[in-house]
Symmetry: C2
Subunit: 323 residues, 2 copies
C-alpha cells in the first residue's frame, strides 16, 4: 500500500477526502449550486441545491468511481474493474475506467431504467444483467471477480466514500454558513462521505438523510441500533433501492443526526416542483431531499440548507408526474 492511502475497508477521515479532491479535481466538474428566493419564501428556509445532476455521467457517483480508479492506478493495479449498480455507479465507473484505459463490467438489475443502461454502454462499459435483488447483484459481481476483475463496489468501500465526500468540500466553499446538509440515502456512499466532510469542515452543521419509505432500511437500522440486511424494497426512487453498506452504516450511525423517510407520492410531488421552479429534471432519488423538507417544515424552518441533488438520469418515457 502506498503511504497515505488507507485500505478500502477502513473508514476514511477528512484527510482522505482532501486527498481524493486532489486526485480527482481535474477529472470532475465543480457543479453549481442554485437557489430560488420565491421557493424559499414558500418553504420557509434558504434552500441551496447542489447540482450533481450536472456532474459527468449525470450523478455524484463519478466522484467516488474516479477516486477508486485513480487509486488503483497509483497502486499499480491494472486490469478490468467490475461492480454492481442500478445504473449511476455503473456509468460512472465505465467512464472512469475507459479514461484510464480499462474496461468496466457492470452487473445491473433487469429492471434498470433504459437511460441508465444506455449510459453504461455509451461510456464503454459491459453489462451483465441479473434478477433485481441484492443477493443476485452480489453473486454476479463475485462471478466477475472470480474471472480476475478488480471489484469496485458502489458504496461500501472507503475510496468510494472519500470520493463522494468531495461534494461537501465544494458546498462548504460555495454556500457559507450552512446549518443543515441533506442528502438522499441508498447504499449510503454519498451521505457517509458527506457526513465525514461536513463534521470536519462546517462547525455545528446538522446532517440529515432522506430515504424513501419503500427502501427505509437505514432508518430501520438506526431505530434498531444495528444494520438490517433484508428489506422488501418498493419505491420509485430506483437509485436508492440498495441496502445500506457496512462501513456506511457505521459512519451514518456515528455521524448523521437524522434520517427522514418520505413516500413515493411526496417524492413525485417534489420532483415536479424542482422541474417547475428550477427547470431541472432530476431523478426521483434526488427529489427525496426536497420531499423531506416539505414533509418536515419545522425541522428546516429559518435554516440555511444545502441539499445534494444526486442525479438527473430520468426515464423521459415514463415520467411519474403530469407536467
Amino acid at each position: 500500500m502506498l503511504m497515505g492511502i488507507k485500505a478500502a475497508d477502513q473508514i476514511p477521515d477528512i484527510a482522505d477526502i482532501f486527498s481524493a479532491q486532489q486526485r480527482i479535481g481535474d477529472k470532475i466538474r465543480t457543479t453549481p449550486v442554485v437557489s430560488d428566493p420565491q421557493l424559499n419564501a414558500e418553504i420557509g428556509c434558504e434552500l441551496w441545491l447542489k447540482c450533481e445532476n450536472l456532474q459527468h455521467t449525470g450523478a455524484f457517483k463519478f466522484r467516488g468511481a474516479s477516486n477508486a480508479v485513480a487509486i488503483l492506478e497509483e497502486q499499480g493495479k491494472h486490469g478490468d474493474v467490475a461492480t454492481h449498480s442500478s445504473g449511476n455507479h455503473g456509468a460512472a465507473l465505465a467512464l472512469a475506467a475507459s479514461t484510464n484505459n480499462r474496461r468496466a463490467w457492470v452487473v445491473m438489475p433487469e429492471n434498470s431504467i433504459k437511460p441508465k443502461v444506455e449510459a453504461v454502454h455509451r461510456n464503454g462499459g459491459e453489462i451483465v444483467f441479473c434478477a433485481p435483488n441484492q443477493q443476485e447483484r452480489e453473486k454476479g459481481l463475485a462471478a466477475l471477480v472470480a474471472k480476475g476483475c478488480i471489484p469496485v463496489p458502489p458504496y461500501d468501500h472507503g475510496h468510494i466514500i472519500s470520493g463522494q465526500g468531495t461534494v461537501v468540500i465544494e458546498m462548504s466553499e460555495q454556500i457559507p454558513g450552512l446549518d443543515i446538509i441533506i442528502t438522499p440515502v441508498g447504499g449510503g456512499g454519498l451521505i457517509s462521505g458527506a457526513a465525514i466532510a461536513a463534521r470536519a469542515l462546517i462547525p455545528g452543521v446538522n446532517i440529515i438523510g432522506a430515504e424513501p419509505e419503500g427502501a427505509a432500511d437505514t432508518a430501520l437500522s438506526l431505530s434498531q441500533g444495528r444494520r438490517v440486511d433484508q428489506f422488501a424494497v418498493d419505491t420509485i426512487a430506483d437509485g436508492l433501492r440498495a441496502i445500506v453498506g457496512i462501513l456506511n452504516f457505521e459512519i451514518i450511525h456515528n455521524t448523521v443526526d437524522e434520517v427522514i423517510t418520505v413516500s413515493d407520492e411526496q417524492i413525485i410531488e417534489a420532483m415536479a416542483l424542482i422541474w417547475q421552479r428550477f427547470r431541472m429534471l432530476v431523478e426521483p432519488s434526488s427529489a427525496t431531499v426536497l420531499a423531506a423538507i416539505l414533509a418536515s417544515p419545522g425541522r428546516f424552518s429559518g435554516q440555511r440548507v444545502g441539499a445534494v441533488i444526486s442525479g438527473g438520469n430520468v426515464d423521459l418515457e415514463h415520467l411519474p408526474f403530469t407536467p
Copy 2:
C-alpha cells in the same frame, strides 16, 4: 431622463451593459457554464454551454426584464407594465414586475406552450391571448398601452438589450480565451446585447447567430442588407418565431459575423444530444446553437466556443424526440 440612462430607442454600448450588471446583479443568478470532454472530442471543438435555462424563470429573458423594470423605478415611472411574448419574456417581466410591486400584462399567442402560460401566471402576470402572428401581438400590446400600461417590449428596446448583454460579462470571466460566441436568434435581443459586450470585452472573438430555417428572417435580412418585416414562420423553436427588431437588426448587421440556419430536424437532434450528454432538458430554441455547430463543423474546428443555452421551458407532454 436620469444621467447615464440612455433612451430605450438608442443603441446601448458596453457602459450601458456594465450599468445593467450593477443594477440587476443582486436580482439575477450568475448561471453556470458546463463542458463535456467526451462530446468535445466528438465535435472537434471546446464547447462551453452557458446555462441560462437555470436563470430565474428558466431563460435569459429575466436579465433584460429586470434591467428595464429597475430603470422605470429609477426614473420614477410607476404603474403596470405590458408586453407581448411567446412566454419567456412574459414570465420574466411578470417576475421582475411583481418583485417591484407592479402588475405585468402579457399578450401571448394562442399557441403558446402550456408551461410558458403557467409560468406567466405563477409569477403574477396577467395574460391576454391573441392570434399567433406579429401584427396581432403588436395590436394587443398597443391596446394595453392605450389603457395606461408602460410598454416593455421583448427585444427591440435598449434597456432590454443592455440587460441581455450582461450574460457575456459573465461568460468572459467564466471562460477565458473564447474564440467564438454563439447564441440563438429570434427577435435579436440576446444576440445584439451579447455582440456589443463581446466586441468590447473579448479581443478577436467571432460572434455567430443560430436561427431556425423556418424563422430565418434575420439571415434573409442580412443577405438583403435591410431588415425584412414579413416572414412565413414555421419552426419547432417556439421562442424564435418573432421578426428581428429594428435596433436589433442594426446591431446585428454591424457587429455579428454570421448567422447559421438550421432545420427543425437538426434542432431536435441537438436537443436530444444535450439531454443525453448534460442531463439538461433545454427548449428547442436553445438547441439551435449546438445544431449550428454540428451542421458546420469546419467553422468551429479547434475553437473555444461559448454557446448560450437560452432557456429550459420545454413542454414535457410533447417532447419532440424519443428518449
